[in-house]
């Protein structure tokens, strides 16, 4: 199969599946989603195996004749969003959409169409397609079970799942189109589709707060859209091409840099960087498959993907330094905020924003090692965060709360789920897993820049604290006679177990991933590579990281320990030390207080909300962020 067919498949299959899932019959919907998942994953894998696109043959002009169609669809889309703006009487949406329509019209009129293919993929894009397709499919399958339980909890009479899955699958198709796009106009079209899908999916439950947050997400993303169109306008006015492949060959100039700066700001809004993070934290009111898919693994990756794509162009400019600062500052600010949060989904949201900030810092630092780290971090973060969100949603449905304090003693009732959740968190911040390897690479490649390195070091310390705290809560044992209630349904097993397995395998296989995805990309744009691979380790002139040896040591250690634990006695009956007054009553640990009254065991955690609470510091960090962006924009000249 040639790449044109496969590219069409990656977009047509989900869109087809979306339309088919509009029929509101549960079994049909399950069939459609599962078949779409298989189809889109297969196309993605085949596309990846096909390799990077070679744009030399004339057949590559196949898609250019659809330029006009895309423009028409673009205006229709913007028209629909404008209509939504009037429907909700939301002035900001109206203004931003109107601005986009005007500027887009200018771009379309002034733009000279070229004969370059609007679709292109190197290994980075192919990796993104794989992430979107495979992880997206797994989350869609998870969504089948989640939404059934969700609607049951809400006692809905009429199911809204057909609308839900329509937009979810439509989104997958749009994401695939986005990462495969070469022509910025096409990318812009897919970009705005994802904005629309995000808006509709966030507001799915139609509660007051869902509506409010979806509108906030809409206008913030539209602001990014305006920046995107402004970037395209600058390029068009300067008679520069709108195709990435052509742009990446050009020498840098102030106006080109200005266009890139606008595109980067669009990326900031899409990836919910400071000061635009409130739409992402607000989007947590959406059903969890939305959070898992859009707001951790795929849509927010679109922003950093664009920024990373453009990185070779603004390499070593002053703008890049500011970009690195913005990314590193986002990391530390969101890590501090995550420490003060009690809402599990918000912690995950802040962690997502922080990791995306790290990827942007990579793009800003711009050395081959840093770019490689950024690419790897996109991959590993997407898988681990998707896993964590899926588990978070499932646990929330099991225990009825998303506060982490209510998850104490989860291990007693749901051992496998809590272990998987702990595993997901461990893959986020501990060696030898991929996310930590990327962090190691970033720290080593940014070591020459004192401010960035201080921010990164502090940020990563904060992340350890809140992950460690959360893992400790989940694996806590609070019941003397635990009653295991775990019955994981088949759809959950299929989606969550596969994702966990994927997280493990990808981390173990990081060296083949590096050679097949990162190295070709680096060679293409930087003509140099960063690490040599020796004895299963990453090695360069300043550091080394032994991947296989560490996996071997810890893997064997864990297997041996688990084997020993299995054979040892099953009933340890030791009570905790409570000055001799320990007791078990009403199936709880506790102690016998004065006058013989039983006091059950409770525990709390440090949140420091008075010092670093969201309400206290958000204003300050937003101000710093806005200031930095303004300075970064000014620095292009």
């Amino acid at each position: 199969m040639d790449w044109k067919t496969l590219v069409l498949c990656t977009m047509a299959i989900p869109i087809g599946g979306a339309i088919l899932s509009l029929l509101d019959v549960k079994a049909w919907r399950r069939l459609v989603v599962i078949l779409t998942s298989i189809g889109i994953s297969a196309s993605a894998i085949l596309l990846y195996l096909n390799g990077s696109f070679n744009l030399s043959s004339s057949q590559d002009l196949f898609f250019t004749k659809y330029n006009g169609l895309i423009s028409v669809l673009d205006f229709l889309l913007l028209g629909y969003i404008l209509y939504l703006g009037f429907k909700f009487k939301h002035v900001l949406i109206q203004i931003l959409t109107g601005l986009q329509i005007l500027l887009l019209a200018l771009v379309e009129v002034l733009h000279v169409p070229t004969q370059t293919s609007p679709f292109f993929a190197d290994k980075l894009s192919l990796m993104m397609v794989l992430i979107v397709s495979i992880l997206g499919s797994l989350i869609a399958i998870y969504g089948l079970h989640y939404m059934d339980v969700h609607e049951e909890h809400l006692h809905l009479e009429k199911s809204k799942q057909s609308k839900f899955f329509f937009f979810l699958l439509l989104f997958l198709g749009a994401m695939n189109g986005l990462v495969l796009s070469n022509n910025l106009l096409w990318m812009y079209f897919f970009w705005e589709i994802t904005t629309l899908c995000s808006f509709i999916l966030i507001g799915h439950d139609q509660t007051e707060i869902a509506i409010k947050n979806s509108q906030q997400a809409l206008w913030m993303n539209l602001l990014g859209g305006v920046a995107f169109v402004l970037g395209m306008l600058v390029l068009t006015l300067k008679h520069l091409p709108l195709e990435l492949t052509s742009l990446l060959t050009l020498p840098i100039s102030p106006l080109l840099l200005l266009a890139l700066a606008f595109l980067c700001i669009a990326g900031f809004t899409k990836s919910a960087q400071l000061p635009f993070q409130s739409w992402l934290t607000g989007a947590m009111v959406a059903p969890t498959p939305v959070s898992a898919l859009l707001h951790s693994s795929t849509m927010v990756n679109a922003g950093v993907y664009l920024i990373l794509r453009l990185a070779p162009l603004y390499h070593k400019t002053l703008f890049a330094h500011y970009l690195a600062f913005i990314g590193a500052f986002t990391l530390i600010a969101t890590s501090v905020l995550a420490l003060s949060e009690k809402n599990g989904k918000k912690i995950l949201a802040y962690s997502t924003i922080g990791n995306l900030g790290m990827i942007i810092a990579c793009a800003g630092i711009g050395s081959p090692a840093a770019i490689g780290a950024g690419i790897l971090l996109i991959l590993f973060h997407a898988v681990s965060k998707g896993l964590l969100f899926m588990l978070m949603g499932y646990v929330e449905q099991l225990i009825g709360s998303r506060m982490i304090e209510d998850m104490r003693g989860l291990y007693d009732r749901y051992p496998l789920t809590s272990v998987l959740m702990a595993f997901g968190m461990i893959t986020m911040f501990l060696p030898p897993f991929g996310a930590l390897l990327s962090k190691w690479m970033i720290i080593e490649s940014s070591a020459h820049n004192p401010i960035i390195i201080i921010l990164l070091a502090l940020g990563s310390a904060f992340t350890m604290v809140f992950w460690g705290k959360w893992i400790g809560i989940i694996l806590g044992r609070t019941e003397p006679n635990p009653s295991k209630q775990e019955h994981n349904p088949m759809l959950i097993k299929a989606s969550i177990y596969s994702t966990a397995f994927l997280a493990l395998i990808l981390s173990v296989a990081i060296i083949p991933i590096y050679t097949s995805i990162v190295l070709p990309t680096l060679k293409l744009y930087y003509h140099q590579t960063s690490y040599t691979l020796l004895f299963g380790s990453f090695k360069n002139e300043i550091g080394m990281f032994p991947v296989y040896p560490l996996f071997l040591v810890f893997g064997l250690g864990i297997i041996w320990t688990l084997a020993k634990l299995r054979t040892s006695s099953t009933k340890p009956s030791s009570l905790p030390y409570m000055a001799g007054l320990e007791a078990i009553q009403e199936d709880k640990f506790g102690f016998v207080g004065p006058i013989g009254k039983f006091v059950p065991f409770t525990a709390g955690n440090l949140y420091l909300q008075d010092y670093i609470g969201e309400t206290k510091i958000t204003f300050g960090i937003n101000t710093i962020a806005i200031g930095t962006i303004i300075v970064a924009l000014a620095s292009v000249f």
Binding site: K564, S568, S574, L575, Y577, A579, G580, L581, E582, V592
Partner: protein, 154 residues
């Protein structure tokens, strides 16, 4: 493993960790016990550390008379200590109830609740006497360790 056993037995004699529980004493005996830890008598020479945690302790020093309230605590603490362990009753009240023997709330000495191995008489006993009792306890500990099965960390 035999090789390690010998070292473990030697270790257990040279490192008795203490748990000091005051059941309701007038604190006279407690002050004398704590005096043993001061530089003048310095029982840390023998590896004795006053841990406050029964899970870490080998020696339980009980002072004061047992009443209906603290007997539960004493029993719990004794059960939380890991084998091999030694109980010492320090002072007259812990031995038998002391001057409070016939009071309505006092059950008697510590041996009403838990098996006591060493009794140190006195009101309060001198630190030298307490140290003497500890040395006696170490001898008993050796015997208990010999008769106990060796458990591995595995």
């Amino acid at each position: 493993m035999k090789f390690l056993e010998k070292f473990i037995k030697q270790g257990s004699l040279k490192s008795p960790w203490l748990l000091h529980f005051d059941c309701g004493s007038c604190n006279g005996c407690d002050i004398e016990i704590l005096a043993c830890l001061t530089p003048l008598y310095d029982v840390e020479r023998f590896g004795i550390i006053n841990t406050g945690n029964p899970k870490h302790a080998d020696l339980l020093m009980v002072t004061g008379g047992i009443n209906y309230r603290n007997m539960h605590a004493l029993k719990n603490l004794y059960e939380q200590m890991l084998d091999p362990k030694i109980v010492m009753a320090i002072g007259a009240c812990a031995n038998s109830g002391g001057v409070f023997k016939d009071a309505y709330n006092i059950l008697g000495g510590a041996d009403k609740v838990i098996p006591v191995d060493v009794y140190v008489p006195g009101c309060p006993p001198k630190p030298e006497a307490i140290i003497d009792g500890v040395v006696e306890a170490l001898g008993l500990l050796e015997q208990k360790t010999k008769s106990m099965e060796l458990s591995h960390a595995r």
